[in-house]
C-alpha cells in the first residue's frame, strides 16, 4: 500500500496572498490554496525549463541521421 507521507513540504506565503487566492478559487475546480499554488508553480517552472532550449545534435550525428532519412525517402 503506497501513501503520500513525506511527499509534501511547507512553503510560506504572505497571509494576504493566501486570503486572496482563497477568494479566487471559490467555485473553481481547485479544492485548496495548496492545490492552486502547486498548479501555478508547475506551469511557471515548466515555462522556465522550456526556455533552456531543446536537443542539440552534433554535426556528424546530424549528417548520419539525414542520410538515413534520405534513404528511407523522408527527405
Amino acid at each position: 500500500m503506497s501513501g503520500s507521507k513525506g511527499r509534501y513540504t511547507t512553503v510560506s506565503i504572505p497571509v494576504t496572498l493566501y486570503e486572496r487566492i482563497k477568494r479566487l478559487i471559490e467555485g473553481t475546480g481547485f479544492t485548496s490554496v495548496s492545490s492552486f499554488v502547486t498548479y501555478v508553480l508547475r506551469e511557471v517552472v515548466a515555462q522556465y525549463e522550456a526556455e533552456k532550449g531543446g536537443e542539440v545534435f552534433g554535426e556528424e550525428e546530424r549528417r548520419a541521421i539525414i542520410e538515413r532519412l534520405r534513404k528511407l525517402g523522408y527527405l
Binding site: S2, R42, G54
Partner: protein, 381 residues
C-alpha cells in the same frame, strides 16, 4: 522549433561500435531474462528516448509516485508505469547490483543493471492505472499473466530488435531532425490503433489546418483480440496518404508500443511520447485509448487539466460526423442540422461490415482505403 524532450534531455542509451561488441560479449556471460515482444519493445523504447526521461524500467520510488500522483519522483508528469515484471524463478540467483542480459527470441539485445527488485500489488495497479479491477478490461486481464516481482534499473541497448516495418520505424532523434529539416515549428501528433475512416481524416486535417506538419503515428505491437492487424493499418494509411494528403505536410511513421487501453492515463502517456518525437501538439480523440464502456467519452480531455507543465499542447477536436445537409464532415459545434441528417462513424459498425466483406459507404471510409482493408483475408487480430 520542435518540442523540448520530456524532462529536458533526449535519452539515448544505444551502444554502437566497439562498445556494442563488448556488451554483446559480456551479455553471453550474464543471467538472461527472456522478454515477450511488448516488454522488449519497451526496453528499446527506453534506450532510444521514446520514454525520455526514463533511462530504465522504473524503480520503486518512481513506480509509487506514478501510481499515486501520475508523476515521477522528481515531479515530471508520467502516467503509465513502465515496469519489468518477472517471476521469482526467472530471477533465480540475481540480486540488486547485478547486471542481466535482456533477450528477445533467444537473442540478447540489452544489458540492464538491477537496481531494485520489489513486489507490486496488481490489484492496486489495476485500480489506479485502469480505474477498474474488472478482468473484462484487456489491460487488467493481461496483468494476471505477469510476474510477481518488478525489477528496476537503467539499461543499454547493444542490438536493435528486428522490426517488421523498418521502412517506417523512425526514432525520436530522427523525427526531430526531420521536422527541423522540413522547417516545421509546430507539429501535431496523431495516435491510432485503427485503420483510417473519414472521421479520423477530418480530425487530422482539422489539426493540420493550424500547425505546420502532422505526424501520423499508429501503434504496432500488442493489441486486444479483434483489433486491426498492424499490416492492415499500415497498408490502409498508405492508401489514404497517397490519395488524400499533401505529402509535404505529413510524416507517416510507426511506433512499436503495446496498447494498454488505460483511457485518460494512456492519453497523457501518448502525448508525452509524441512530445519526445518532437511534436508540439497532440490530438486527443473521443474516448482516447478507451475500451468498452470503462471510460467516459471525454474523460481523456479532463485529465489534461491536471498537467499545466506537460510541455505539449493537447488538441481537443470534437467527434466528427457526415451531415447530409452540410454535404461533408462536420462536428457538433459547426453543424446546425438535426440528427436525421447525420451519419455517425462507428468503429464497431465498420468492423462488422468489413468482417462481412462489405465495403463501407464512401462517406464513412474512402473507397481506396476500404479496398485495401478488404484485400486482407483476415484484417483482425
Amino acid at each position: 522549433m520542435v518540442s523540448r524532450p520530456h524532462g529536458g534531455r533526449l535519452v539515448r542509451r544505444v551502444a554502437t561500435g566497439a562498445r556494442a561488441e563488448r556488451l554483446a560479449a559480456e551479455a553471453r556471460e550474464m543471467h538472461v531474462i527472456e522478454l515477450p515482444l511488448d516488454l522488449a519493445a519497451d526496453a528499446e523504447n527506453i534506450a532510444r528516448g521514446v520514454y525520455s526521461p526514463l533511462e530504465g524500467f522504473l524503480v520503486q520510488e518512481d513506480y509509487l509516485h506514478v501510481l499515486d500522483d501520475m508523476r515521477l519522483a522528481d515531479d515530471t508528469p508520467w502516467t503509465i508505469p513502465i515496469v519489468l515484471p518477472v517471476s521469482p524463478e526467472e530471477l533465480a540467483g540475481v540480486g540488486e547490483g547485478d547486471e542481466v542480459a535482456l533477450s528477445y527470441g533467444g537473442e540478447p539485445f540489452a544489458v540492464m543493471r538491477v537496481e531494485e527488485v520489489y513486489g507490486w500489488d496488481k490489484r492496486e495497479y489495476a485500480l489506479k492505472v485502469y480505474g477498474t479491477r474488472d478482468v473484462r478490461h484487456p489491460g487488467v486481464a493481461k496483468l494476471e499473466q505477469m510476474g510477481e516481482l518488478l525489477i528496476g534499473g537503467r539499461l543499454e541497448l547493444f542490438k536493435p530488435l528486428p522490426h517488421p516495418f523498418s521502412r517506417y520505424a523512425l526514432w525520436p532523434e530522427e523525427t526531430r531532425v526531420l521536422f527541423e529539416e522540413k522547417g516545421w515549428r509546430t507539429i501535431a501528433g496523431f495516435q491510432t490503433r485503427n485503420v483510417p475512416h473519414r472521421g479520423h481524416e477530418y480530425v487530422q486535417k482539422a489539426a493540420l489546418t493550424f500547425v505546420d506538419g502532422l505526424l501520423i503515428h499508429p501503434l504496432v505491437g500488442w493489441k486486444k483480440p479483434g483489433d486491426y492487424r498492424d499490416e492492415v493499418i499500415v497498408a490502409a494509411y498508405e492508401a489514404l496518404i497517397d490519395n488524400y494528403f499533401p505529402r509535404d505536410s505529413i510524416v507517416f511513421a510507426v511506433l512499436r508500443m503495446a496498447m494498454r487501453y488505460a483511457g485518460p492515463r494512456e492519453a497523457v502517456h501518448h502525448a508525452i511520447v509524441r512530445k519526445n518525437f518532437g511534436c508540439t501538439h497532440f490530438i486527443v480523440g473521443r474516448d482516447h485509448a478507451g475500451v468498452g464502456n470503462f471510460y467516459g467519452p471525454y474523460d481523456a480531455w479532463e485529465i489534461f487539466r491536471e498537467f499545466p507543465d506537460l510541455g505539449v499542447i493537447p488538441l481537443f477536436i470534437r467527434e466528427a460526423f457526415y451531415c447530409e445537409k452540410c454535404g461533408g464532415f462536420v462536428n457538433e459545434k459547426i453543424c446546425p442540422h438535426s440528427e436525421e441528417y447525420r451519419v455517425r462513424v462507428s468503429g464497431t459498425r465498420l468492423r462488422e461490415m468489413i468482417r462481412r466483406g462489405e465495403a463501407p459507404p464512401p462517406e464513412l471510409m474512402r473507397p481506396e482505403v476500404a479496398r485495401v482493408v478488404l484485400s486482407f483475408e483476415n484484417p483482425f487480430t
